[in-house]
Amino acid sequence: MTRRDAQQIVKVMRRHVLLSTATSLCLLGVVVLGSLAASLQAVSPQRTQSLWTAATFAGMAWVILTVLSAKQIKSANQAAAYLSAGRLDLAEQELTTALNSFSLYRMGKLMVCHNLAVVVHGQKNYQAAAELCDGIISLHRGVGKSLGRVCRILLADCRLFLGDTLAALKALQPLVRNREGLSLAEQLMLLPIELRAQIAEGQFAQAAADLPAKVRRAELLDSPRAALVHALLSRACRQMGDALRADFLLRRAQLYHDLSDLREDYPLLKDSLDAAKIADSIKG
């Protein structure tokens, strides 16, 4: 998927969301007005009957469209199965098809788009993933607050990989301002990405602040991400002149994962690796 494809998907999604909102409002209007007018018997009995029939058919249309919209959830589940089997290409295909079909519910559409962004991010196609995340954030207003938060974290990750640290920090700003509102799972997602952004921007004091809490959370991450967070914290401590903590954190990072494996994806770790090599040579 190219950046242009992603922009096109967002454009289509925006149009669908607008259409679904108009359809929902229209159906709701017919149901409410029809029922009210019929109940209050404000018009002739014949019209009352027609209004009631219209309201009934609008209600039925709503049910049918809801059932059709549920297909998107099925697609999202199917895509998740493809993802767990490592078939990113099939997951992408399934989700792209689902996004092009009509859904009455904005939330379902945004969920599918989010899953697609995750797949595209997994393919290391950060430009396209960032476009999709941007699209979701601009459309999510009000509904699915958790989805919006996760998308912001994903967007920041993409921006970091694209070398745009300021945009990453900007994407994270609303989350950092309301840290207490984040669930533990979201905090765990945020930690390595926020640290990367801070280190890249040279905000070492902020990165090393509240160290015990950060280490405690890092311990809950999977091995590669735990190693990454420890290495980043180690670098922040070293920059702050705290060599004791920096060495300890680096030792822990090496126990979690081979730092040389992470270096390809995170050039920020170069300094930590150099420090590790020096420490090894001193030991040797």
């Binding site: 109940s39 009631w52 280490v215 405690r216 030792r251 126990l255 979690y256």
Partner: protein, 287 residues
């Protein structure tokens, strides 16, 4: 009644069972709503239906159906929220608050099998942290007998049942179960969890030479998939080395274990590591 008492566990499994009858009832109600609305809208006074009934009844029936649907979705959300809260507490070893979060949802049916399975896995985890291994064994066994949860949860339950049985001194059962699980192909993360349980059983029963037979492979597997919990594996390997008299190896492994996790926590989780913690210095935490 304590949530971890045997009778309470049994009662909770019975109460949280999704009711097929209520699901059937809900489907019937939805169907009846559609039929009623269409019939009343189409029929009118021609079929002897009073005109007022045609106007008043459908909104009431639709309102009732929407109300029931709304209640069901709220209940499901409450279950998910409670499971999430319990998971968060358990991540920080807060077993009591985790049980408090789970208590209310266990008293009624949990419609999603996956949520139900996860809730009981968390409850068993809390029981283990409180040292109630009998309760944990009962929960895992009931999960497996009633096949609650998805396949991954059931596989994990088997592995955790084996560990709980070792701790609960049901060694014969534990060895049989571990022997059976050793024959089952597993994805690597589960294999790492299983290897840890197997290692624990071997060290617990004094089979130290067997325990270190695949040390290198096990270390790599623990490191890759167990993250911080790899410290338990290193600690148990250190114990095996210690009893075999391989002091430098034991010291090295204990150093790795205590770099990842404080020695007090290692000993609290595996009391058999107490002699090792006395024999070798732990790494000091500057944080």
């Amino acid at each position: 009644m304590n949530l971890l008492d045997s009778d309470a566990i049994e009662a909770s499994f019975a109460a949280s069972q999704p009711r097929r009858r209520s699901l059937f009832g809900l489907q019937s109600l939805m169907m009846a709503t559609v039929v009623c609305v269409v019939f009343l809208a189409m029929a009118g006074p021609r079929f002897g239906v009073p005109a007022d009934a045609g106007l008043i009844l459908p909104p009431i029936v639709i309102g009732a159906a929407l109300g029931i649907g709304h209640r069901a979705s709220r209940r499901r959300k409450a279950c998910r929220d409670a499971v999430t809260r319990a998971w968060q507490h358990l991540q920080f070893d807060e077993a009591r608050p985790a049980l408090d979060a789970l208590g209310p949802i266990m008293r009624g049916p949990i419609t999603s099998e996956s949520d139900r399975g996860q809730a009981y896995m968390l409850m068993a985890g809390a029981a283990e942290r409180l040292g109630r291994f009998d309760a944990a064994v009962q929960i895992y066994e009931t999960l497996l007998i009633q096949r609650v949860g998805d396949i991954a949860q059931l596989q994990e339950a088997q592995i955790r049942l084996a560990a709980a049985k070792v701790r609960n001194d049901e060694l014969t059962d534990a060895v049989t179960l571990i022997g059976r699980l050793a024959q089952v192909p597993m994805p690597p993360p589960l294999k790492a969890a299983f290897d840890l349980v197997h290692l624990f059983q071997q060290v617990f029963m004094g089979h130290h030479a067997d325990a270190i037979q695949h040390e290198e492979e096990q270390r790599a597997l623990f490191r890759k998939y167990l993250s911080t919990k790899a410290a338990y594996g290193y600690g148990l390997l250190a114990a095996a080395m210690h009893y075999l008299g391989r002091i430098p190896d034991a010291s090295r492994l204990w150093r790795d274990a205590t770099t990842l996790m404080r020695s007090e926590k290692l000993v609290r989780e595996y009391p058999l590591l107490a002699p090792v913690s006395l024999a070798y210095p732990a790494v000091e935490y500057p944080i």
